[in-house]
Symmetry: C2
């Protein structure tokens, strides 16, 4: 099969073709830019949902249940599970197989796990490519699942239309602290394993952080999808963007309790984005960040491949190694050589 | 205290000054490049040891015991603990305090934990800066401790003179697989928690991988520091570089068993690097990689700060968002604009 054939089959959501297309994009095989150019016009239709949280918060189970919920509503779901702590493709594939069994015989759910790649800024761009393939293939929802490890949360926020932050009671005080910067990217908050002691405290902490950020809706009862729906109604009535008030939902992913509400909250958030004209802005920001990252990466690769700059880099590096100049001085010199 | 004063005190290994200097370099505060230029000529004297392994392999305990062992030999040790899974500085600081208690009243051990930073390629360069500060401050050994999560192993290999890979029995088959690329960077292999069942299998797997890579010394008895010493003797007798045969050592970090042998293996490796003239080459490679990373980062920041390129990026991004062009085409256009 040539790549045109693979693209054509993938765009009809043929699972094996989708899988092969993802590998081409993920591994940046020769000609992947042609493939990308071919599928890109078909993207932009999926609702991209990012789900992130600390290890042990039950994200995978939650994502599986969300997929099942959307399937029960007749929607198709592509899942990209990014595990920055696993460099082991083999393990990821094994995990895929185990998870796929739950959705076996169902062509409407596609799961792909990714480890991180060893190149600069690799996580987000490879993930972005996989999201685009699933989007082009026609999945109604693309869910990105990733462990919350600092940078990955920021990256997921730049990729997703809706970001759901998962928290869980009882991870201990030092882990449970939610950073201000992370709070800001949450569109939906999920407190999973709600039967655990301490759930009220986690909810209260999130609410307090949202209050501080001026984002909480003011519904102080137990948050439900109603809060989300109300927030949407408020938002549509409100003046402009940023009118979304992130709901705080409680779930038991294992039993599926509260999962439907999470799906409804994500949908409500998307409706709000559309009504507010904020979706266009979000997607523009994603496009800008990707364009700049790709340009930066091309410049970096040019640096590493070009004989002249490589020669200059070597000369400077010997001076650095001999402690004649420091690396920053050398970096400045090298930059001048490339961009001027 | 002005920064010259801080630098001067840090270079005399005054703990609080070292700590402040690290913060300046780590956070890239205004003027940090001057600070860097001031300390850099004093670097290059420490033996930089990278210790990496999967979560739960007992790295922290091992590192603490290695520090204690070197201290008992009258050497000073700076420790940089990089946890890419923890974005929580607070947690890291708490961990530092707990660990410092074990070395309290001892001015000869310095511990600094770092989370990851949210910028491109941030992990390795910030780490590099911290290593340089500790090196300049006069610590005999600088130990970088990091969870093995794909990219971090490659990064640690570019920073350290000696890389010790820690494995542990019983983490399960899917995790225990040692990737070929990761094997290549190991100078010393440590199988920790050697009382656990399955230790022979882990040792055998490492040996097999080393055999495949043509790196194993051929000592098939239980590997000890003797193997390392023999390997060194062999190495000095051998023709040139790459004559080091990584020993496989078994430890019980909790009790300290085998830790002295790990220290001796690291020292033997350093002697081998010096004898082979390989140290100069390793440090040149580190200097080259840093110079290029800094140049690349400066170009990226220039991209993000320059009004003209930012304007161009916005125009291109709108086209991308409207699906008129794909992000790679936009990235190529932007690159042309910047470097030509």
């Amino acid at each position: 099969m040539d790549w045109q054939e693979i693209v054509s089959r993938a765009l009809s959501r043929e699972v094996r073709a989708v899988s092969r297309l993802i590998s081409i994009v993920e591994d940046r095989r020769a000609g992947f830019e042609d493939v990308y150019a071919a599928i890109y016009p078909r993207t932009g239709r999926a609702h991209v949902i990012g789900i992130t949280g600390p290890p042990g918060s039950g994200k995978s189970t939650l994502v599986d249940k969300i997929a099942a919920e959307y399937r029960s509503r007749g929607k198709t779901v592509g899942i990209v599970a990014v595990d920055p702590t696993s460099p082991f493709t083999g393990g990821a594939l094994l995990g895929d197989r185990l998870r796929m069994q739950r959705h076996s015989l169902d062509n409407g759910v596609f799961i792909r796990s990714m480890g991180t790649r060893g190149h600069l800024g690799g996580l987000s761009r490879a993930t972005s490519g996989v999201v685009d393939v699933l989007d082009a293939a026609g999945y109604d929802y693309v869910v990105i699942e990733t462990v919350g490890v600092g940078q990955s949360e920021v990256e997921i926020a730049s990729l997703a239309d809706t970001v759901a932050l998962v928290q869980v009671p009882g991870l201990g005080d030092d882990i449970q602290v939610i950073k201000a910067g992370v709070m800001e990217i949450g569109d939906v908050f999920v407190v999973n394993k709600k039967d655990r002691p301490g759930v009220e405290r986690v909810v209260a902490e999130i609410r307090m952080s949202l209050d501080l950020a001026g984002k909480y809706s003011g519904h102080h009862g137990p948050a439900t999808a109603m809060a989300a729906a109300t927030a949407t109604a408020t938002a549509t009535a409100a003046i402009a963007a940023n009118a979304w008030h992130p709901p705080i939902l409680q779930t038991m992913a294992e039993s599926g309790e509260g999962v439907a509400e999470v799906c409804e909250a994500c949908d409500a958030h998307m409706r709000c984005l559309v009504t507010d004209n904020a979706l266009v802005e979000r997607r523009f920001r994603r496009a800008r960040s990707e364009t700049m990252k790709i340009a930066s990466d091309l410049i970096w690769r040019g640096l590493a491949d070009d004989a002249r700059t490589l020669g200059a880099a070597e000369g400077l590096a010997w001076k650095v190694a001999r402690r004649e100049i420091d690396p920053y001085a050398a970096g400045r010199d090298l930059r001048e050589l490339v961009v001027s």
